[in-house]
Symmetry: C2
Subunit: 287 residues, 2 copies
């Protein structure tokens, strides 16, 4: 297991962590100030400054992209399916232009939440089938431009509105169906927030192996959690045994960035540099 | 599958649903007014009026008890283990005195939340081992008085503070280890709120079979969920395909009560009779 205590060369900043503190250009500047080598930007943040400018400032700053957030939301009714397909292909293209290591997929939940305007449904089994089809279709496109797809299983608390892939096992089952050869074209993005509770997680990380482990995200689960979406904790402030999970992915050969992704009403109110200082300190001591 | 549309003979009221509207005696009176044949009372509600009186009013009203809430919280440090053991044995005794069909077990999460005052830990693997031991020990006691134990897997959102048994598979694994003969001494209490998201749930209900299906609870998952504990929905107001889950347990031969358990800041503010009216209506149309 790598020693993170001396530096933060393996820290990547998911830019949603500081989305309220500045635009993508300001975030990239902050990364330079703090010696952060990698980011994972969100599509809306890229769109806000324009893709061309985003490509330029990322390249000029010499930043790696540990991922691009995000494709997915595959669950749609017939009337919204083409738009979902087109949208996801654009996400692949943007990821490619930015030089991201993978496109993170949040697969969508029920159609009315995944693609608003779709006919409402309570059929999560059907939603999961639609996800399988959507990923299969996008994978054909992504293979052509050599952009790996990283399925992110989301905590079951988000099964209805964000992702009906809720366990690492489920995500790997999809990978194995679509890419039995483990070519590197598809894998998983594992965020400790989503997987820490899973009694099967260590076995599934072993099953994943290096070829499927495309990204590793950290934050913490707070008790109590005051907001189901935007009350993630800074690493060390919650109950997740982060180091055991990092040890498990590194035991499989994962050697990528440890990406910090904190959606937090609390932290969004702090000055950008204070928040980044905290991230770096906890990366060294807790992650 | 039973037809619930004509009457509510299979409706049981978990008394936490109306805990803010009255004490257990008032709740029992309300059940009589509304033709409700079964309840599942909580220990604190029984204690508030005294066990002897609770036994008497339940018997006088001719009420069935579809369960007794609750035993568990097995995860404790050494200093708190004896107290946890004694507390759980008392829960068995109370369930027996009240004539409950089973004692529902919410197994506990990390020790600092499960048994406050215990030394804090982030080791959920150790917590799960402690749960195994605690249930094994309690089962020996419960067998002597013929009180079935019903392990309730809780939604992963409660893994830290309430229950580290988070899937039906996990609960059944414990049952199979402790009671391979399926004697009826131990099984599961399945609440749609906790299990609806699980991609494995239908297979696990089939695995459970009639012998392990000791209780079935209903409410709904709201989107958005505004409070992680106390924003459960009335059946039909959320996203859970309740009828498919009831069909699955009944296909295994489950023929017990459909118990309504709604923790809701919203519903706790409604008059008791209005809330019970809504429960009965939705039981007939949605459950």
């Amino acid at each position: 297991m790598r020693d993170f205590s001396d530096d933060h060369r393996w820290l990547s900043l998911n830019t949603a962590t500081v989305r309220k503190q500045g635009d993508l250009a300001q975030i990239v500047d902050a990364c330079a100030r703090h010696g952060i080598r990698a980011i994972d930007p969100w599509r809306d943040q890229v769109a806000a400054i324009g893709l061309d400018r985003a490509v330029r400032i990322v390249r000029d700053a010499g930043l790696d992209l540990s991922g691009y957030c995000r494709g997915g939301m595959f669950v749609a009714d017939d009337a919204h399916r083409q738009a979902a397909r087109d949208d996801n292909r654009r996400a692949v293209d943007e990821a490619k232009a930015l030089g991201a290591s993978c496109l993170v997929l949040v697969v969508g939940g029920l159609p009315q939440y995944s693609r608003p305007g779709s006919v409402a449904s309570r059929d999560i089994v059907a939603a999961r089938a639609r996800v399988d089809d959507g990923i299969a279709e996008l994978l054909d496109y992504a293979r052509q431009v050599d952009m790996p797809l990283a399925i992110e299983p989301l905590h079951p608390a988000y099964a209805a509105d964000r992702a009906c892939v809720n366990t690492t096992r489920q995500a790997l089952d999809i990978c194995d169906r679509l890419d039995p050869a483990k070519s590197g074209a598809i894998g998983v993005a594992l965020d400790v927030y989503h997987i820490w509770w899973d009694p099967d997680v260590l076995a599934q990380i072993e099953r994943a192996g290096k070829a499927r482990l495309l990204a590793f995200h950290v934050c913490d689960w707070l008790v109590p959690t005051k907001d189901i979406l935007n009350d993630r904790g800074m690493m060390g402030d919650g109950v997740i045994d982060i180091r055991s999970l990092r040890a498990a992915v590194e035991a499989q050969g994962f050697a990528g960035y440890s990406e910090i992704e904190i959606f937090s009403n609390h932290w969004w109110e702090q000055p950008m540099d204070d928040l980044i200082h905290a991230c770096i300190a906890r990366h060294r001591t807790v992650v």
